[in-house]
Every structure is written in C-alpha cells, then in structure tokens.
Symmetry: C2
Subunit: 768 residues, 2 copies
C-alpha cells in the first residue's frame, strides 16, 4: 500500500565502508566506523557473516517468486492469496524455519454492484474497468479480478450535481467556500494526490456531500509524467487506483475489532457501529471516465493549482447535468493468512527481531507488495542457509508475510493486537518493507535506529553506480541543496551530506504494516524501499501492476531487489547478533529537539499569519483585490491566539539531551571494551533497551484516537499517510485547540521524563 | 506590442487623496500631500484643472473610436492603417491641436509564401490560418489580413528533424546539451513565453539550427488558463501569436537605418548587412499545428517544467519524421504614418511634455494598441476643450500616435532619431501607453518620476472598488506578501504597502515606444496600463484581438479606459503646469542603491554557486544521481570567479545619495514658498532638471550595442523585454565577462558622478 508519488521522500544516508566497492575517483568523506553494538572482535565476525549472507542472494530467485506470486489475482479472499501463503509456508520450512500460518476472519466488503453515469444532454456511462493492454500477459486475466473500488466506503444510490474539489483536502473546501460553492447534497469529484485517499470521502461526508469520486489525473500519474503504459510506465486512460478508504487515522485493522485481535471469540462491533467505515458511497475512476464529468462542470474556473493535465478548462461546478452513482457491497467476512516464521535465538531467545512485508495485493501486485516480499523471502532463504551451515542468531528472528494490508493493515494489526503482550515483552525491532523499485533508498523509522541504518547503507553497493547506497543518497541531497530554489531544510541536508555526518531518517506516519508495531505497541520500527528512478506511480493499485510492467519499468534484473535484501538483511543480522542492541538514543534526543523547535516555529508562524490575516480583513484588502466578475470572498476569520505553553516540552527535551549524551558516552566506552559483562546483566540491559520505545507510549493514546499510543510519531488526522511528530501537541496547535495544546505539551513532557528515567537506569548499568 | 502575460507585473501605488471617493470603511494610511512641483496656491488651481479634465472624459467616445479603428486590418502598409492616421489627424485638428502626419519609408517584409508540413508515416500539413469564430464580427474579414508570420525572420526552405527546446532560452539549450540533444541542422520547436519572442530564433540560429517554430502552448495562454475563445477569452486551438523577431536588443526601428531617421535621404544598409534581421526562417504556429509535430518527437521525455498542457507526453526529440518549413517574404519598403499634435506652452514653450501610443496593429488590434490609443485620444480631446475654454499649459504638449510599433518600434524610433537634437534640447518627459485592460495599474519608468506617479494614483478612483487606484494596488501587494510562499521582495513590498510609503515603480526594459526616448535619447519616461483581471493574453497578436473580444473580456464599459486617461492625463497636466518640473531625484538615488545592492548580491550568489558547482563536479555527485536509463550529463564547468571591483559604483552611489538628499530638501523648501523666483531662473532650472536623465547616458552606449545609451536602464540582451538595470555591469557579471564588469563599474560610476555634478548645480540654484 505504501508507495505513492506525492508522498515526501524521506531519506537516510552514509558513505562507503571498507566492504563496499568504491566509486571511481570519489573521495571518501566518512572514515569507516565500527558497527554500533559490536566490540572490536565481534565486529569482524559480523562483517564475515554479512559477506556470506550477501553471497547467498540470487536475483533469479526473486524473479521466479515474483512471477509466480503475481500470476493471478491475490487480493484478500482470493484463491491465489491463500496459495501464495501456503507456498511461502512451504518455502520457509524448506529453508529451515519454524513456520506456520495464522488466520484471522475479518470484515472484507467486495463490490456487488457499482455504477456511474452522467445524465442530461450528453449522457455517459462510465466503463469502470481496465482493458487488457498489449504486452502485459496478466492484463488479459478476468477471472477473480474485482472491479475497481474503494473498500469500506458506504453503500448508496445517489443522483446529484457534481462539484470539483481538487484533492479534496481541508484547504480545498476553504477555497470552494470562498468562491461560493456548496457541496451539500452533491457528488464531490476529487483527484488522487495531496493527501491520503481515505480523507477525500471522509471530508466530503463531513461537508455534507452525498457521494464521492476519486480519479487519477494524468498530471499526477499519467501522460504528463511520462509515456503511458504500455509505451511507457505511466497510467493509461482507463487505469484506476483502487484502495482502502477505511478511517485508519482512528485505528487500522478489522473495523469490527478495534484494539483486539480478530480471533474467533473476539467481540465484534455491528457494521453500522464501526467508526472507521464511511457512510457515503465512493468510487475510484479513471481519467477516461472522469473527463465527461469534468467537461460537464459549470461555475468558476478552478484555481491554478487545481488544474490537471486533461485537455480542458477545469471548472468548479456544479455540473449542468446530474450524475448517478451506485455502490452496493457484499459485507462478508474473509480469512487473512499471515505467514509467520521463526528462528530461535541462541543466547537471548526472548529478544525478537521482527521483519515483515505483506503479500496481499489489489490485483496482481508485482510491485505492491510482491517486489518487497520477494526481497524478504530472499533474506529468509539466505538466513536459513547460514543456519544450516551452523550459524545461530544470538536473538530470535521472526519473519512475517502479512495478508490483508491493502484493505487496512489488517494481517499485521490483528496479529500485533492478538500477541500484544508477548510482543511488548520480547520485540526489540520491527523492520518493514512493502513495494520496491529502482534508484535511491527511502528509509523512515525510530530515530534510535538512525545510526545503525547509516552504517548499514555505507556498506551496501548501489547496483547502478557502484558507489554505496549511502553515498548515492548523499550526492542527491547535495545536488538538491544546490538547486536555485532549494528550501532551507534542503540546504541544511545538503550541508550535512557534504560534511559526511549521519543523514536523518524520516519519521513514520502510516500506510504500511509498521503501524501496529510502532504506534500501537511502541516497538522501534523501520520502513525501507528503493525508488525514484522507476515508474511505479502510474500502475499503483491497478490491474497493470504486473510482472511484465515490473521487469520493464521497475527493477528489470532484480539488482535493487538484492540491494534491498542486503540493507534489510544487514539490519536484521546486526540487530540479531550485536553484543548489545544497536540503539543510539542521542539521535532520538537530537531529533526531538528539532521537533520541539518546529513546534515553536509553528506557533510563531501561526501567530504572525493570524495577525496578518486579521489586519488584511480589517483593512478590506481581500475585498479590494476581488475581481467582481470572478468574486472571491474574504477567508473566514481565524481565532485569536493566546500564549501557548511549550515550556514543559522544552524542559523535558533539555533533561533528555543530558541523559542521552551520558548514555551515548557510556555505550561507546563499553563498546570499546567489547561490552564485556555477565550474561544476565546483558540480558537485563537488552530488555531495558528494547523497551525504550514503549516508554514513548501512553496507555490513553492520542486525543480522540486511543489506539495510537506513541506520543512522538503518528499519522496525521488530516494527512493520513503523512506523519505528525509530537502529534498531541502539533495537531492541537494546527487545529487551533489551544487548551489541548497546553495539556498535551505537559502530557508529552511527562512521557519523555519517564523515557529519560529508563534511559538513566540503562546508563547506570553500562557504567557499572 | 507591450502586453504579454509572462512579463512580470511591475507596480506602483499610493492611496486616497482628498479628491478620490473613499472606499467604505477602509482606513486611510497616507495623509494627503501637496502635488510635487506645486506651491500652496498653484496646487489648488491644479486640483480644479484636473477635476475639469476628468469631467470631460466620456467612455462612449473611446468605445466609438475603438470600434471604428479596429474595424479593418491596420498593420503597416494597410489602407486602414493610413485611414486611422488621417482620422486622428482630423480629430486632433478639430480639438484645436496643431497636428500633422510625419511619414517614414521603412523596410517592412510581408509573407510571399509560407508553409509547414510533417513528412513521414503520419504526414500533416499545417493550416497556418485562423478561422472565423462565432460572435466575432471582424474574424470573418479576410481582405487585407496577412497570414501569421514573424516579421524580419530569414527566408528559407528547410527539411529537417524537429527538436523541442521549451522556451528556447539560454538555459534551455544547456538542458538539451546535458541530455545529449544537438540542434545543429534541425528545426527547433519552441513555445511562446519565458523571454522575448525574437530571442528564440536568434538563439536557435546561434546554436546552428536550420529553422525555428514558435507555438502557443495552451498551458501559457490557452484552455489551461481559462475557457477558450469564444466561450471565454483564451487562445483557441488555431490562434497564432504574430510578432517581430527583429534583433531589437541591438537597436529597434528600421533595420536599414540604425541610429538615424528613415528620411528619404538617409543612408540605408543593404538588407543582407542589416544585423537585426535573422538568417534562418521562423514561423509562429498555433497549438493545433504544433500538436502533430510534438507527437512525432522521440528521444527523452522533456523535463518537468518544459511540459505544456496538451494531452500528450512532451519529448525532446529529434522527431522520427522530418518536417518541411518554407518562409519567403516580399522585402518591400512601406510608409509609416506618425500623427503628431502639439499645443504650445504659454510660458515655457521650449519644455515639451510628450505623450504617445501606437496605432498600428497585427490585424485589428482592439486591445493592442487601440485600447491605449483611444485613452490618449480622449485626453487630447479633453485638453483641447480646456484650451478652448481658455486654459493654456505652461509647457508645450506633444501628443503622438505612432505607426510601425509592431514590427520594431519603428514610428517612434524613426521620429526620435530624426528629431534627436530638438528632443534632447526640449523634451522633459515621455509618457507611453500601449494596450489597456481591467484591474490593476502597471507602471514602470524613470525613478525621478516615482513620487509624482504615486501622488497621481492617489487621486484616481478605481472603477470597480471606488478605492483609489493606488489603494487597490496596495491591497494587492499586501495580500501577495501574506501568501504562504511569498518571496522576500514580495514581503518587503507588502510591508511598504502596509506602512503607506510610496510604492516602487518598475524599471523599463523594452517592448513599446518609450525605448528610443528613454534608452537612446535619455528622456525621463513612463509606461502605464491597467491589467490583471482581463483575459488578453489569449488573443495577443492574433486575428481575435477584436472589438467583440475587447468588450466581452477587456473593459466592457470603458471604465478603465477613462481611468487610464485620468492617470496619464493627470501626469501630463502636472508635468505641464507644475511651477518647477515634478521630479524627485532622491527616489532615483534610493533605487540606484537597491540596484547596486543587487549587484553585490549577484556576485556573492554566483561565487557561492560556482564553488558549489565545482565541488559537485569534483565529487562526482552529478554522475552519481544520473539515472542510467535516462542519463543527464554533468553541466559544463563554470569559469572561476576573480574579485570583482564594484567599489567605484559604491562610492558614486554614496556621493549621489548625499547630493540627492540635499536636492530633495532644497526643493521641498522652495515648494513651501511657492517656488518664487525670476522667470529666467525658473527656465534655466527646468532646463537643467529636464536634462538630468540625459546625464545618465553615455555617447558610446552599452557594450556591443551603441544605440542603447542609458547606463541604468536597458532591455536585457538575453531577456529582450525584461529590463537589466545597470546593464553594463550586470550583463557582464551574468555573462562571466569579468574584465568588462570591472570596466563598466568604473564607467557607470563616472556617468553617475556627472549626473551628481549636474544635480548639485540644480540644488545650488534652488538654494539661491
């Protein structure tokens, strides 16, 4: 589900270590560095282990598995979805893993009847289907392919005028209001992009719309980006992006079992009471089907930034003719099949290193999710071989291939909820991948893992340039920061890259299976994938996400599949075998300082913007610039801003900074000495360290959404995929809920103080 | 010729004076101020005169004149062009002016044969014509309408592959080179926008292209901006932008008589020796004709910013099939008819206030130039009535309606060159208009006029809002500066606007008839026009620039025509009747300081960018980020930057600042005393003041283009319309000609010292 083009690229980087082949003539700005968590002796053993692991990765494996697993529709409930799970189970077992399938029965609606037509003088009936295209073998398969739909939208039959609402995000409704356009009772036509899909019908519903359509404009992922499939990789006229519109900002997983696993005996909500299911009908459509609707729109010309690439003038509406939209679903229960494979740790079996990727798709899913899934399988095969050769991880490895990610992160969420207690007791790290492509590594995650990630990508070669993955990222940041219109953050990143420091990894929002681990259970997590040079956006969640597309426009020789196995595999192997867990809390503390700084800047900026808006309203400036032939009303007056008390956060961050510096120093001293300590103390130390991320959670969760318990990272209520850091405070400020901002500044500070106290205990143990 | 959408909007502003109707509820931030150049007593007389002038302006006049003058094609050499001149001559005389027509015979090529076709498997023959459209009466006229062409392109017959070069500007060729695309021997397909039209074929020629096409992309002025004509005002599929491609950055006017008037006895160059005529054929085309060529392009996908709004993927080429381009012109001499009308000044007949607008168009020219021309006529009629009622201007008025502006500012240039000596002796101010529309005033000019312009627009009501023209501009600047992505200059302007200070007027580049006055002769000039709410770009230089279009999408009730007459008329009347010429040199000095500051910033920025580029080249970063499937070569290495000596300019600007402050103070003291002084001294003072702008010229002119003599304002060699201030220095720096930059910093400083010495003489006279 993860990869979408408008999502900001979140980076991490480093440079050549001694094991990576050097890119000719490029000076090395970073001296090689002992891997975090290892002493001088174990570091050598580990380098040898990783070299053996690398040698066991064969791109031909990934190609063969991808072809087989994407050969038939494999969405939840399909025969091939189950077959893929069983195939993996057999493979894992053959590779020496202790594997099983864990099944959950969950609500999974599928379309019974969908329809869309334009009435009036130029009637049009939408095709709502994706034809076969030349050269794409699986596109001819019709058996078992569901029609394009948005799962968890409401049932409904609506005949109404159409209004165009751009990306359908909150600011778009403000612009419509300023132009006197009311969406109540209308069908809102939105385009993909600008924020998470599910927010579009949700916000349409909140604004009183009767229905919602979401189309793919060629500006965003079609011919305006590059040649359309099959000439190029971009979305053809009839391509449709399916996807979930479950209100996952409240909670992901089975809508009927919030917070608990969908086991046979779980208490289930009635469908009508499930708060994450929408009430209005919603349908995703192609631009071929959207064009007649757009042409039928009257009213003002849409603002500049709202216009797509279709050969017409975009108007806001309402339409001169009405449209008729029908969505009727089968509201069935379906099984999801999670494949779980374990190798028990030799000396710390109760510390688990978890690695996951989902296997269910919307149709064939060669890119999403199978490209990531076959990288995970390759790691598991190589690890199995290492075990057969006599190696055993210190800590326990858990490899998982989730089902039901596409409808709502269901397989991972139900498993995490079912095993919450064990996981909170044992899990140290969760490493996620999803789709994979060609180009640059995208890495996001818990910042205590930032240094390890930087070190790992210093030692993995980029297949195209033979520089390290980190060095290539560094070059990209430097080039971006040198662009004439580079933003201050881009310039700062470029400077960091040029100076050879660790590059920041992004924070996790949502959109893939790490959510339950990180945000519900408080397990330090990472999400990894290559991209930026491939053309995946154009087939995202369509019937054309196929093997044939992937080997032309994705990663033709699976070199980046192998690179992903290396990056994720090295992370897993280091986490598994480090003398002490490879976490550096100073990186978290410094990142937190940045977030707190951002909150202060946000308050200052909003205060200035509020004063400016009030001044402009009072002076009548908005009325003076409005063209009477195209009137735009003044914006609604923003509420006054009182003082906001971020001081508790400032103090907590300062205290944490001192403690984190002390930890980093004590850890480094211990590392130089090979972490020599009694096994029991090391176990205790590891247990405390593994639990650190949980110390960033709060049982009551975030305001209005108790499922999300992490007080530093959460998907934004109004961004969906996009992260909001320090969410209790940030979203309160952005939403102008001033009392809540003050309250959550104090609450978050309290959580951080608990985190610090635990960290001080660890530091004391290291100092012993 | 002036109005083009991609030209930056240059603003000036002020607020309500006591005479303007107040916009309800808007607080007045600027106290009324005595008009510059007037004493306490004459200020009252002047206010009464302006009120009488305003009452004589009738929008019905402008409507009737516009309809008649745009009723038939009126390009140079057409019967209706001559008829319009004769009609105006009769009008001016009837209104009491001393008027005549001055005729020049100039080179004016017209198409004999033009053709464009795509060869190969999908052949296409370009239409190269604009059909009639419903509701546009003159669009059915075919008699006397020339086919769309670019005047002063070369003759040629070329069959070659096509390459797409975006706007065809210098940076575009760098991008092509990085992608391995060579234009030598090819037909370069460019789109309108991004810089002056004439640079496109000139740069194509310099890069070795065999021919050049320029098309209008709907992204820039068609359906992507708004509904196409006749539904809306924007360019239809077959609309073509005609226009000159004469190399006017060398010199405008008749290509055969550089620097001298095209009188019968003038020495004329041979056509082949005229340096402003291109050698390769060039043709402007519609997007309907460009689409088959764009579809035929192979090669890489064009960079993001190069893609237009057509429903296709833009490629760079070369094309898979060749195109065949033919242009063959009649290289004839044609007469241009300048209408010149005068009213002799009562007390200072040797000081001339000149007001001009052209009357020739490309086809019917309702917008360009007639909307401005009828405002000028309305002023002349009202002034004639005032004279009949007994008023006489102190100084002499010259009203001119130029011919031949479209092919190359010919009528104004030849007249200015012919009368250079008289003009340099007598002319004090030149006030230009061209087209006119609806919305906000655009004002550019000599900065010694800035305060007068600010005061004038304080006293003219905006027709739509009943605020003053200045107040409306101020509101717009404040809103723009409050936008989330406002640039630092936008924020500074917003602050200035909110504080109620004078707003800066823009500097003049080229593109209308002020060029010869300001840049060749050194006469302080202004260019004025309303726009921003009208839809003129879509019919610019096409057959659809018609009366019917203008009254739907321009200024339907000619309220802005009357507002333009008021703004220009008040400026003329104040310049004519002020006790002493209304110039404030402190405004020029402060503006110069800004320009010198910009030069320092330019040097610093280029130095940083050069170092950055060298570092990125040395580290191999460009190679590391290049996608091997879409390779982009590293850019060419920029030359090293030595120290650049701007100190002479700094010192000259500092000295001038002191002198200008002394002048402003002395002038203000004299104004409070009603400028009481003997008539002869006042004449001498005025003569010195009128000549101040000439003190900014240098007989040798700018590097490589001696016709352009002003050392502060010039059109950019590589922008065409767009101004380059302190051009000798700025263009040398931008072109990395370091020695030339040093040399022209000293030369410009020398000119500024002469300007200052003259200013000191004036100040001494005021202090007497």
């Amino acid at each position: 589900m993860t990869r979408i083009t408008w999502r900001p690229l979140l980076l991490t980087a480093a440079l050549l270590s001694s094991t990576a082949p050097a890119w000719a003539g490029v000076p090395d700005r970073r001296p090689p560095d002992r891997p975090l968590g290892f002493g001088p002796a174990t570091a050598i053993t580990q380098a040898q282990l990783e070299a053996r692991f690398d040698a066991l990765l064969d791109p031909a494996d990934q190609r063969a598995w991808l072809k087989q697993m994407s050969s038939a529709p494999n969405q939840v409930g399909s025969p091939h979805d189950k077959a893929n799970a069983e195939f993996m189970l057999a493979q894992f077992r053959a590779w020496g893993w202790d594997a099983h399938i864990e099944t959950f029965n969950v609500l999974y609606p599928t379309p019974e009847r969908i329809g869309l037509s334009l009435l009036g003088p130029h009637p049009y009936t939408a095709k709502l289907s994706e034809p076969a295209v030349a050269g794409d073998a699986t596109s001819t398969i019709r058996d078992g392919v569901l029609p394009p739909y948005n799962v968890y939208g409401g049932d409904g039959d609506v005949t109404a005028e159409v209004v165009y609402a751009n990306y359908g995000m909150p600011d778009d409704y403000k612009e419509l209001a300023r132009r006197g356009i009311d969406v109540r009772g209308k069908i809102v036509l939105t385009r993909y992009g600008g924020g998470w899909r599910g927010l579009k019908p949700k916000l349409a519903q909140e604004h009183g719309a009767a229905g919602c359509l979401i189309y793919s404009d060629p500006r965003d992922d079609g011919f305006a980006r590059g040649d359309a499939y099959p000439d190029g990789g971009w979305r053809p006229a009839d391509g449709v992006q399916r996807g979930s519109v479950q209100d996952m900002q409240l909670y992901p997983g089975d809508p009927l079992t919030p917070g608990v696993g969908s086991t046979p005996d779980a208490r289930r909500l009635a469908i009508k009471d499930a708060p994450t299911i929408l009430h209005i009908p919603v349908l995703p459509i192609s631009y071929a089907d959207a064009t007649p609707l757009l042409r039928a729109l009257g009213g003002p010309v849409a603002p500049d930034a709202w216009r797509g690439a279709l050969g017409l003038t975009y108007h806001l509406g309402p339409s001169t003719a009405k449209a008729h939209l029908t969505v009727q679903s089968h509201w069935n229960q379906q099984p999801v099949y999670d494949v779980i494979a374990m190798i028990r740790g030799a000396s710390e079996p109760d510390r688990w290193i978890i690695r996951g990727n989902h296997h269910d798709a919307w149709v064939f899913g060669a890119w999403d999710p199978l490209a990531g899934n076959v990288a995970l399988m390759a790691e598991a095969k190589a690890i199995g071989t290492l075990v057969k050769q006599g190696w055993r991880p210190r800590r326990t490895l858990v490899y998982a291939s989730w089902d039901g990610e596409e409808p709502g992160l269901i397989g991972s969420t139900e498993w995490a909820e079912t095993h919450a207690r064990e996981l909170q007791a044992h899990a140290a790290i969760y490493v996620n991948t999803d789709t994979n492509g060609r180009g640059f590594l995208e890495a996001e995650g818990s910042h205590s893992l930032q240094h390890m990630v930087n070190q790992v990508i210093d030692g993995v070669a980029d297949p195209e340039t033979r520089a390290s993955v980190g060095q290539r990222l560094r070059a990209r940041l430097e080039i971006a920061g040198a662009a004439p219109h580079a933003t201050p953050p881009e310039k700062a990143d470029a400077q960091l890259a040029a100076a050879g420091g660790d590059l920041p990894i992004g924070a996790l929002g949502s959109g893939s299976d790490y959510s339950a681990f990180l945000e519900h259970l408080g397990i330090a997590s990472l999400n990894l994938g290559f991209g930026g040079e491939d053309d995946d956006a154009g087939i995202y969640h369509s019937r054309y996400d196929s093997f044939d597309h992937y080997v032309r426009f994705g990663d033709p020789d699976f070199a980046y599949g192998v690179a992903l196995s290396r990056v994720a595999g090295h992370i897993v192997l280091r986490a598994a075998d480090a003398d002490v867990l490879p976490l550096r809390f100073g990186d978290f503390s410094r990142t937190l300082d940045r977030y707190v700084g951002e909150l202060h800047a946000l308050v200052a900026d909003m205060r200035k913007a509020t004063a400016r808006q009030h001044r402009l309203l009072d002076s009548g400036a908005f009325a003076l610039v409005s063209d009477p032939t195209r009137p735009v009303r003044p914006p609604a007056r923003e509420s006054d801003m009182p003082a906001i008390d971020l001081a508790p956060l400032d103090r907590a961050a300062r205290r944490l900074a001192r403690s984190a510096r002390a930890f980093d120093a004590a850890y480094a001293r211990r590392a130089a000495g090979g972490f020599a300590m009694p096994a029991a103390r090391r176990d205790e130390l590891d247990a405390l360290m593994a639990g650190m991320e949980q110390a960033l959670t709060r049982p009551q969760g975030l305001p209005g959404r108790p499922w999300f318990k992490h007080v530093i990272y959460a998907p934004g209520m109004l961004t969906g995929y996009g992260v909001k850091t320090v969410p209790g405070v940030r979203e309160a400020i952005e939403g102008r809920r001033w009392d809540e901002a003050d309250r959550y500044a104090a609450i978050t500070a309290g959580v951080l103080d608990g985190y610090r106290a635990r960290l001080d205990r660890i530091t004391a143990m290291l100092a012993q």
